[in-house]
């Protein structure tokens, strides 16, 4: 039995930047063959922005691109070239899944809408993932991760009460969307396996993030309350915050929920008397006096390195963690144990450290292989997927069809 869960699944990606590429990279890690269609003339934004391996500005060395595209084949094709459609039709008839992340209407104008696809491959599964979805008054409005993150409502609940909305992880929605996209695609594959039926999935990026916001939506509807921003505090635990530790910009996150955890914390801070103080005796008291509590805890953490605070509190049964930086992640013993980051050599360009998959399957583990150079697989795809003869390939090459 093949140990790649998605072995034999063929995917074509018409995708840009982060959300789409990350979607198909998950499929590739679990064994799907993914051909990403790119353009030489209109380079993917992520191939341009770096940082670059060896600090050499080159589309094959941009970390943004490498990060989001492991395990795929890259085929460059000028979709407006007169013979491009012939090539594309053959690739579509090879494919089980097509992923597109262009704004609504773009694929249709190229003659590559779902209705065109089913004529080539009736059981195709096509997932279109743009900001607003492919119907409604906003359909087709161009957008990208930053506006989409604002649209999702997440910044509204990120930050301290007296702070402007904070932008979460730059454009966090780009990293949320791939998860539900992959769920929908693989579920559709399973359904097709049983019924023979493909389908079109209109995966609006706006709509797929809203379910995550449901608690604040219900709170407004039911209680008339807008939850707004509460910083790092919790509504059911205190102390619950990030605390400055010894050193330059070093921090620890601490979450105390139960009385037992609170008593343990007081003991660790060598301040057992604190545990019996009435103003902190119960959760509701601690919540009421949490700013004062934060000052007391921070006075203690500031005298210790963050790693020491973490180890000590975890050993005492309290949830605590260093606010890890890129350097910390590289040295994290658990992530090392999990083999989460994997260094892969790019011939002639250097080593890139790829992150793994957050979902691990025991019998069919994922594999990470390097991201492709621009157009690296043009010839391979033309010969093996499209079935062009050498002459036909060279002729198209001469006509600049692969630009």
């Amino acid at each position: 039995m093949n140990s790649k869960a998605l072995a034999g699944v063929h995917v074509v990606g018409f995708e840009l930047a982060q959300a789409g590429p990350m979607t198909t990279s998950f499929l590739a890690a679990y064994g799907a063959e993914v051909i990403r269609i790119e353009s030489q003339k209109h380079l993917d934004w992520h191939r341009q922005i770096g940082p670059f391996l060896g600090d050499v500005n080159n589309p094959d060395r941009s970390c943004c691109f490498l990060h989001a595209n492991p395990g795929k084949m890259s085929m460059t094709l000028n979709l407006k070239h007169e013979h491009a459609m012939k090539v594309i039709r053959r690739i579509i008839s090879w494919a089980d899944v097509v992923v597109d992340t262009f704004a609504g209407g773009v694929m249709e104008r190229l003659g590559l809408g779902y209705n065109d696809m089913v004529k080539i491959k009736p059981a195709i599964i096509m997932l279109s993932s743009d900001t607003y979805g492919h119907s409604g008054p906003f359909a087709g409005t161009p957008s990208y991760g930053v506006p989409l993150t604002a649209l999702s409502g997440l910044p509204h609940i990120t930050g301290a009460p007296d702070q402007m909305p904070q932008f979460p992880g730059f454009a966090i929605t780009d990293f949320i969307i791939p998860r539900t996209n992959v769920l929908a695609i693989v579920s559709a594959l399973d359904y097709r396996r049983k019924t023979g039926k493909g389908q079109y999935i209109d995966a609006s990026q706006f709509e797929c993030t809203i379910p995550l916001l449901t608690p604040v939506i219900l709170e407004l509807e039911a209680n008339g309350v807008d939850a707004g921003r509460i910083g790092n505090h919790s509504r059911y635990g205190a102390p619950h915050n990030v605390y400055r530790c010894r050193g330059e910009d070093r921090w620890c996150a601490i979450s105390v929920f139960t009385d037992q955890e609170w008593w343990s914390l007081c003991e660790v801070m060598s301040n057992p008397a604190l545990a019996s103080e009435p103003r902190f005796a119960t959760l509701s008291h601690r919540l009421e006096n949490q700013d004062e509590l934060d000052r007391i805890v921070e006075a203690w953490t500031m005298t210790h390195p963050a790693e020491e605070v973490m180890e000590t509190l975890q050993n005492a049964g309290i949830a605590c963690g260093v606010l890890q930086t890129g350097r910390d992640l590289a040295g994290d013993p658990q992530l090392k144990y999990d083999n989460f980051y994997r260094e892969i050599d790019h011939p002639g360009a250097g080593v890139f450290s790829y992150s793994g998959m957050a979902a691990n399957l025991s019998r069919t583990p994922y594999e990470i292989t390097r991201a492709p150079n621009l157009g690296e697989h043009n010839e391979f795809v033309c010969r093996n997927v499209v079935g062009l003869s050498d002459e036909e390939f060279v002729e198209l090459l001469g006509q600049e069809a692969f630009e």
Partner: protein, 420 residues
Amino acid sequence: MVWERGGAMLGSYRVLDLTDDQGLYCGQLLGYLGADVIKVEHPGGDKSRLIPPFLHGVLGVDNSLYWRSFNTNKRGITLNLDTAQGRNIFRELVRKADIVVESFPPGYMAQLGLDYNALNEVNGKVILTSISPFGQTGPHSKWKGSDLVCWAMGGLLAQTGDPDRPPVRISHINFAYQMAGADAAWGTAVALYWRGISGRGQHVTVSIQQSIAKTNFMAHEVFETTGKEQKRASSFYRVERSEVMLRSVWEAKDGYVAFLIFGGQWGATHDNPRLVEWINEEGMADDYLRGIDWAKLSWRRTPLDEVAKIHGYVERFFKSKTKAELLEGAIKRRIAIQPVNTPSDILEHPQLQARDYWQEMALADAMLVKFPSRFCLPSYSLCRQWMPAPRVGEHNAEVYEELLGISPEKLNRLKEASII
């Protein structure tokens, strides 16, 4: 009850959901696609039923709006796994299930005699999906992780917030847990697909730390490549290899909007000329702004005072307009300005209304609310809310009768013995 979800992608599968707040979203997502998800709770109810906010602010196991947000699409039963008889009943349920999802501390399922190997003996096709803060094995696997701690350890907390203030976590509604739940859901779907081909189940594991590390915009990768650490500046976009920071969140008259002023060819061919034209029409531009050659503008090489000057025009313009006015103009002129939506903006969003996104659901007697109906819109199958979150033990009689043929009398005896 006959399960009428044949047309849904996962309509033929049954899930036993043992999770607490760290894994609730997984079962819900599978349920959106039609899986028969049975939430198995300890008698008295799952502890995450006590997470605020509460309906009308009243504490109660059926009142948590948080719990009710992430448990729709599930039937609810109670079962005491701390008793031998309870565990036997659970094994019987596993025979009738395709998937078990759990988020207990690692090792707890083994203590119960219900780890993957044990479940595999009962049902070789079953998929066990386990969610925990730091994985199932390894040096930190026994550590406790809250949502806040998982953000920290995954590297995203250090990246979010103003440089001169403490870092801030992304939302306060356990978003890290939901990210892990989504990872667990797609991982489970991949395992299901392979099971369809191989006939074998397997163990799917998700570490919440890894879910966040995977959400991180390359803190690790940038460090490994450049030897430099990214510092938090989350309302700004840092221009590489320079001191220039481009604002991403701006004040409008009645709230905030997001917008980036791109330089170079991108800015010249997209937003910038359209925005300048709009500012000009409102009489807020001058020769300097009108004269900028965006294609030639490289932020990296622009002096900081000039960066501030250019930002100033946009800042004054945005402050003079409401979010709604800015959005209307942005759509009309095809400029990527986007209001930072509040929950009420989302509820009233015309696009969602036009796409019939909201599904009515009863939260209490005579209280209908709008609930998100889907995470995607398949043309053929359905992705929807099939049922509201269950009350404690709401489907005991129905599920135990249907799956195990337990009669009402026997059910009563089990209840009296505190097993159900």
